[in-house]
Symmetry: C2
Subunit: 423 residues, 2 copies
């Protein structure tokens, strides 16, 4: 990293911080006006954005990017229209800024209240998904924050025009355009430098695979919110309704395989016997899932055609594909011991009808969410009624689970007196 | 660091984590029973504790420790009794564990709720203040957490017996003693190793001077909550009632100088003229405060006997003594610019009667607390009605300002269905 690059990143972040100071003083109406301008600007520039995206997609194809990733990179005019709608959806969410989290009048007459305020400057590091560029900018702006964006290099042309469009929209309204900034042109080095700017950047949110998250957490001097790694389990207890178990396992594993709240390991209670095992395993096989069968299960029930023998490694993986680890465990304690060892702290599900088993599972699991007789796929901001989300936190501090607008705020105490001092 | 030391610290932390798993399943009554046993054990061992403390104090005196620090280290039987009372006070606080932060029934009939649960394992790094050992252990235990303690070396004998006493109390009740652990015997190296144990330790809370905080934040792989550095300002606007300004400035500066919510810089509005300046400056001088007068003020009003000429360095210091920086600024904008540059994000106060000035100050300050016509000394858990505090967070994530019990918890989503899957 050259001193020049360092200086440039520092300047971008400092301008974002200056913009965030102005943002703190804007009214909610000012912020809504900014969002509407962003939505309109995206619609007006849809053709131009799609054109830039076509160039990114073409380079990515030439570089051999997989169809799944190409689909996440791709934007046509319709998808740009959907991005504009998503910005308007963000505008429709309740404004967390200014809400009072708690408050009271003290015996000495001093009035104290804890008021929700913007965080400040958010650094967002993510993969080649241009929708995240717009979502993150809109969510951050909605609650009065500036963002510094660093998206995957394969989306660089698309992100450049998206950011230019959003900034132009703000400028046109007399609002601080530096509240939405990109450091894509400085690549990984720029991201590394951003993570050093403690005191300028208030939080870094990495959104992507386990490698990106791990690198960010171990490198960053700025506080990090870890997101999105999901090694989610479904435990099928002997007390489960087997039809319900089958439906939930299939939904959790196959409804959408590339997402963090998809199931990656199914654990079947040994007390359920061969019938429970067969119903779960065959449902997955019939749906085209390749089973990575754990050693206990191989010993008990053997492998069927298409199965592979699984081990530690198979229990640790976030497949994000039509693969699933499957193992036999001894009751809820066996399930908890397995989960405790391999969990990424995202979502753990149980299918059971015995109340004491369910209680034990809920008390024993240490994760952002526990699902009882429901699919892991419900751990999602929109599903849980939070509106849009900027990511799903798998850490315990500040925010845990889907992060809506409130996760992008902090609070400050207002202490209002009439001359009181402390005795 | 030898591999053996590393292994030993890892074992202590792992046992704490195992204890925290048991703690998650205890009832609130179990936890109260533990606190009462701790209080009784402290009372029963008061003589023995005071004896160990006398040895620490004697070594510290021989090593030339200042009287102020000796006072914070010192425990006699009365003070041990006060520690036992503090434990009972913690027991009297409402239990945050199990409370529902939010919840709703989704259209598909799934019931979702966000439930407050213990954080897990808390690493506490602090100075030679044995009361912190007991406070931290009691607060952590109250809401179901294990703690790993690392106190200042000068208190090592005292801390050893305090921890042994608390652990014995838990053991006597059949409760997991490993929930309260110390790594004092491994010194700084042990603390460094503790900060690497991501996945075992859930949060590190450093409590002490700016150097300790800075070292922890830049070293730790575990999430950190920064606490307690306070470079607090009082701004006296031209619209202020000067008697009120004098009382608040004096209280904020002199009521207790060694604490983080004491005032370290007073800013006087130039529009208040010589009268406002003289009233504030003379009140401080008369109280025995040494003024570090900033360049604008020296140019406008000169220095009086006992004053020293101050600069950047003087504006940056957390004096924790009968010293105070004093400067003239141009109105609220000048005050905000100064504060923005030097704030530690703790507490900023304004004395003013003009509503627009007060509003501008509140919107412009970015700190854990803003005090309007009240002393900075109110930023304190007990004063604000939170009960005991484990520290005052000066960061924005997770907890900001005084951290009561709720700051030592996280939440988890409970998603309870009857077979629902996602469509």
């Amino acid at each position: 990293m050259t001193d020049t690059t360092r200086e440039q990143i520092h300047q971008v972040a400092t301008r974002a911080k200056e913009a965030s100071r102005i943002l703190r003083t804007l009214t909610g109406s000012d912020r809504l006006r900014g969002l509407e301008a962003m939505a309109r600007a995206l619609e007006a520039s849809a053709g131009e954005i799609a054109e830039a995206n076509a160039a990114d997609v073409s380079s990515a194809r030439a570089a051999g990017m997989s169809p799944g990733l190409i689909d996440r990179l791709f934007l046509d005019e319709d998808r740009v229209g959907a991005l504009a709608s998503a910005v308007r959806d963000v505008a429709s969410l309740p404004d967390p800024v200014g809400s009072i989290a708690e408050g009271r009048r003290l015996p000495n007459g001093v009035e104290v209240s804890r008021v929700r305020v913007p965080l400040g400057v958010i650094g967002m590091i993510y993969e080649a998904r241009p929708n995240v560029t717009v979502d993150a900018a809109a969510l951050a702006w909605r609650c009065g924050n500036a963002v510094v964006l660093r998206g995957g290099s394969a989306a660089q042309k698309t992100n450049a025009i998206l950011v230019a469009t959003l900034r132009r929209a703000l400028r046109g309204e007399g609002l601080p355009e530096d509240a939405i900034a990109t450091i894509d042109e400085w690549g990984r080095e720029g991201a590394g430098e951003l993570m050093r700017l403690r005191g300028v950047v208030d939080v870094i949110i990495p959104r992507g695979g386990a490698g990106l998250i791990e690198a960010t957490v171990t490198t960053s001097l700025v506080s990090v919110i870890e997101t999105g790694t999901g090694n989610c389990h479904v435990y099928v207890d002997a007390s489960a309704d087997l039809d319900m178990a089958r439906d939930i396992v299939l939904n959790a594993k196959t409804q959408r395989v590339g997402v963090c709240n998809a199931c990656e390991t199914v654990l079947v209670d040994s007390a359920g016997g061969r019938e429970a095992w067969a119903q779960v395993a065959n449902a997955l096989r019939d749906a085209g899932v390749r089973l990575h069968v754990g050693p206990q299960a191989v010993a008990a029930y053997g492998l069927a055609a298409g199965d592979v023998a699984g081990d530690e490694e198979d229990f640790s993986r976030e497949y994000l594909s039509m693969d699933c680890a499957l193992e036999v465990v001894d009751g809820v304690e066996g399930a908890l011991a397995h989960i405790d060892r391999y969990t990424s702290g995202h979502t753990e599900a149980i299918v059971a009808s015995a109340v004491d088993v369910i209680e034990r599972f809920c008390a024993g699991v240490d994760a952002a969410a526990v699902a009882v007789n429901a699919s892991t796929r419900f751990t999602d901001g929109a599903q849980l009624g939070l509106g849009a989300e900027i990511g799903i936190s798998t850490q315990k501090l500040h925010a845990r689970g889907p992060m809506g607008l409130e996760a992008l705020t902090t609070t400050t105490w207002r202490i209002v007196g009439s001359g009181q001092v402390r005795g």
